[in-house]
Subunit: 198 residues, 2 copies
């Protein structure tokens, strides 16, 4: 089927989302205008509305895609030892999130700009991810491999600690991502009562 001249739906759509992601992360949702997004893409404002019904949907789609990708990408081998599963989580979380800085910024900063019903859906996805870490901690406690008094608190503390890498890590910094990951694994392992070798 011949393509209509000037039809770029399959190219422009992704470019609109990419531009919105970059700009929202940089300046914040409220501070970024549809005109600015259009300029970044290289089209006029009106054209954006072929790809999103409104600005809010653009934000929601970005957040939903990100959270879904996290859930899909994390493969937890429940047959492995709790310690190995936790190690894998630490490596996965750092690697995945440091490669998606913009999405992570938006996910932590722009939740308050979601309309209530959208907020609820994103929150559910975030909790589901937390639950996967907590399941690992529970297993470790049940098997006597971990020593910690509250799996929920440890879950939240570990995720906060690991996500914090994004706020300072730079590719050309003093330490490689592998080295950083090793240090964090050491701290996480100790905090749950494993004595990791580094």
């Amino acid at each position: 089927m011949a393509r209509t001249a000037g039809s770029h739906s399959d190219i422009t759509g992704p470019r609109v989302r990419a531009a919105a992601m970059r700009l929202f992360a940089q300046g914040g949702y409220a501070a970024v205008s549809m005109r600015a997004i259009a300029a970044e893409v290289g089209v006029q404002v009106g054209a954006l509305y072929n790809y999103t019904p409104d600005k809010q949907s653009l934000l929601f789609d970005l957040l939903q895609s990100h959270m879904s990708e996290v859930m899909d990408a994390f493969d937890d081998d429940t047959a492995a030892s709790p310690s190995d599963r936790l190690h894998h989580f630490v490596q996965f979380h750092i690697a995945f999130h440091t490669e998606r800085r913009d999405a992570v910024v938006i996910s932590s900063m722009e939740l308050r700009n979601l309309e209530p019903e959208n907020f609820v859906r994103i929150e559910a996805l975030r909790r589901a991810y937390e639950d996967r870490l907590e399941a690992i901690l529970r297993a470790g406690v049940a098997q006597g491999d971990f020593d910690l008094s509250d799996t929920k608190i440890s879950t939240l503390a570990i995720i906060a600690m690991l996500t914090g890498v994004n706020t300072w890590f730079r590719d050309n910094g003093r330490l490689s991502l592998e080295e950083v990951t090793a240090r964090y694994w050491d701290m996480v392992a100790r905090s749950v009562g494993i004595n990791a070798q580094v």
Copy 2:
């Protein structure tokens, strides 16, 4: 000296900052209008400009006050043992920050809305606070009390972990702040190689 009728400078000024703090934390700097702040205070928009030259200064003042208060409030007894100093830091950080939720939200979310020169000044204050924790960790390593391989990374990881308490702790929740603090102290102590008693 008699007060001019209608003069409320000393009352209205703090109220303006309090309203801005609350609203910025709730909706984000860019999303909050001067009209909204005025309405919260109970004055008209024009009156706000008796207390701030512009919206940006309002944000900067809030951030600067908060960071200065943190620095002033943290009393580190360098004569004490590294372990005790670290314990004190953990207790202080959690207590201080959970009591200033709005300021903490703004401090982490609105840095990007500061004009460059303002940003630099706030960043310097933030780093100075980090340095105080790092000094404790260095002392602990030097004295052989702590076992960790990178004081900078441990500093950042600990602060991220502790500040994360703010995102979920509620006064009427399952655990008291004292219990939460004890759990975090346990994790922090272990992560730096102390085996804390809980």
